[in-house]
């Protein structure tokens, strides 16, 4: 398909979003991620039963935490799509990249002096 999407994302593969732990998400922000996307299978279509639903709940808890600690829950998003939805995948990456660019660098990177400007140009 050779779909284009911004190079600012780093893909971390897991067997199922049910593997994604609260600590994985929090550590990503501690390490300075400007935004994190959790991409799981369509709801009701989890090979393992409900992994994506667990991930959704964990994500919601992390969003609450991020809001309370001043990082902003809007920097974390979860999407559900299938492996056949490459076009949608690229579209989501573009959307989120634009959103994160609007939000600016993570307050963590700004506070530690590692960022003063947006990290990437939006390539559409």
């Amino acid at each position: 398909m050779r779909l284009q999407y911004p190079p600012s994302v780093r893909i971390i593969e897991v067997p199922c979003t049910g593997k994604v732990d609260i600590m994985h998400l929090l550590m990503a922000f501690e390490y300075g991620a400007d935004g994190v996307i959790v991409m799981g299978c369509l709801e009701g279509d989890c090979h393992y039963g409900a992994g994506n639903l667990y991930a959704k709940k964990r994500g919601n808890r992390v969003k609450e935490i991020l809001d309370k600690v001043g990082v902003g829950g809007e920097r974390l998003a979860m999407y559900n799509l299938t492996s056949g939805m490459g076009g949608r995948f690229a579209e989501i990456i573009r959307e989120i990249t634009e959103k994160v660019m609007e939000l600016g660098p993570s307050p963590i990177r700004v506070a530690t002096g590692k960022a003063v400007r947006p990290i990437a140009e939006v390539t559409t």
Binding site: L26, E30, K68, V69, P107, I108, A111
Partner: protein, 222 residues
């Protein structure tokens, strides 16, 4: 087991915001089972505090550890060489653990990180229900294994009361009437004659009415 819930994060943030070296101490006992204060929760809270302090531009050292139990001196003693390095400690144990830690480390600020709720069971993951009020004199043998002290909203010894409706308590349609449960259980056991004799007033001196309680087991003491 003792059931607890994590304190609201903003409450913990408010407690520790003026410190720069904070230790989060989880407890691997009861509060781990209800996922309120184990090693995992200690890591999550520590991470949240690090994010908070970092985004606020404040240099802070937030570490976490966990003890097998915080209601025993031997395990609390494992913190002795670490305590001096911190300004404040957030204990994720139940109220017993927090207090015991404060007793042992008298000059250290110890904050609770969970709200201790009750003695209960795990009905499902994330769903815990009260079953015992630790009254000190168990009457379950007489009530079909269902405790009227913990399960009846009025702690009645001769129930049900007039507020029992269709097996539910008048306080909420979601709360089963404790005495309905007792009736059904005794019926199953063929012990309904139990209702024919009133229960004597309960001796509450073994409960909180007698003040803070202590158990002395001379057969066990060393």
């Amino acid at each position: 087991m003792i059931k607890a819930v994590p304190k609201p994060l903003e409450e913990v943030l408010d407690l520790v915001k003026d410190f720069t070296k904070v230790l989060i101490v989880g407890c691997d006992g009861c509060v781990t089972v209800c996922e309120a204060g184990g090693s995992k929760e200690a890591k999550v809270l520590a991470s949240a505090l690090r994010l908070y302090f970092t985004q606020a531009g404040k240099q802070a050292q937030i570490d976490e550890t966990s003890l097998t139990r915080q209601c025993e001196k031997e395990y609390l003693a494992q913190l002795s060489d670490k305590m001096d390095a911190y300004d404040a400690v957030v204990s994720l144990a139940c109220g017993c653990g927090v207090q015991y830690m404060a007793e042992m480390y008298n000059n250290k600020i110890i904050y609770p990180g969970v709200d201790t709720c009750f003695l209960g069971v795990n009905e499902e993951r994330g769903l815990y229900a009260e079953r015992c009020q630790a009254c000190g004199r168990c009457i379950l043998a007489e009530t079909g294994g269902v405790c009227p002290i913990a399960r009846c909203s009025k702690r009645m010894l001769n129930g049900p009361c007039g507020g029992s409706d269709q097996g539910k308590c008048e306080i909420s349609k979601d709360v089963p009437c404790g005495w309905e449960l007792i009736y059904e259980r005794l019926k199953t056991l063929g012990q309904l004659d139990r209702f024919e004799k009133p229960v004597d007033p309960k001796d509450w001196t073994t409960s909180r009415d007698g003040g803070p309680r202590t158990i002395v087991r001379e057969d066990l003491r060393i």
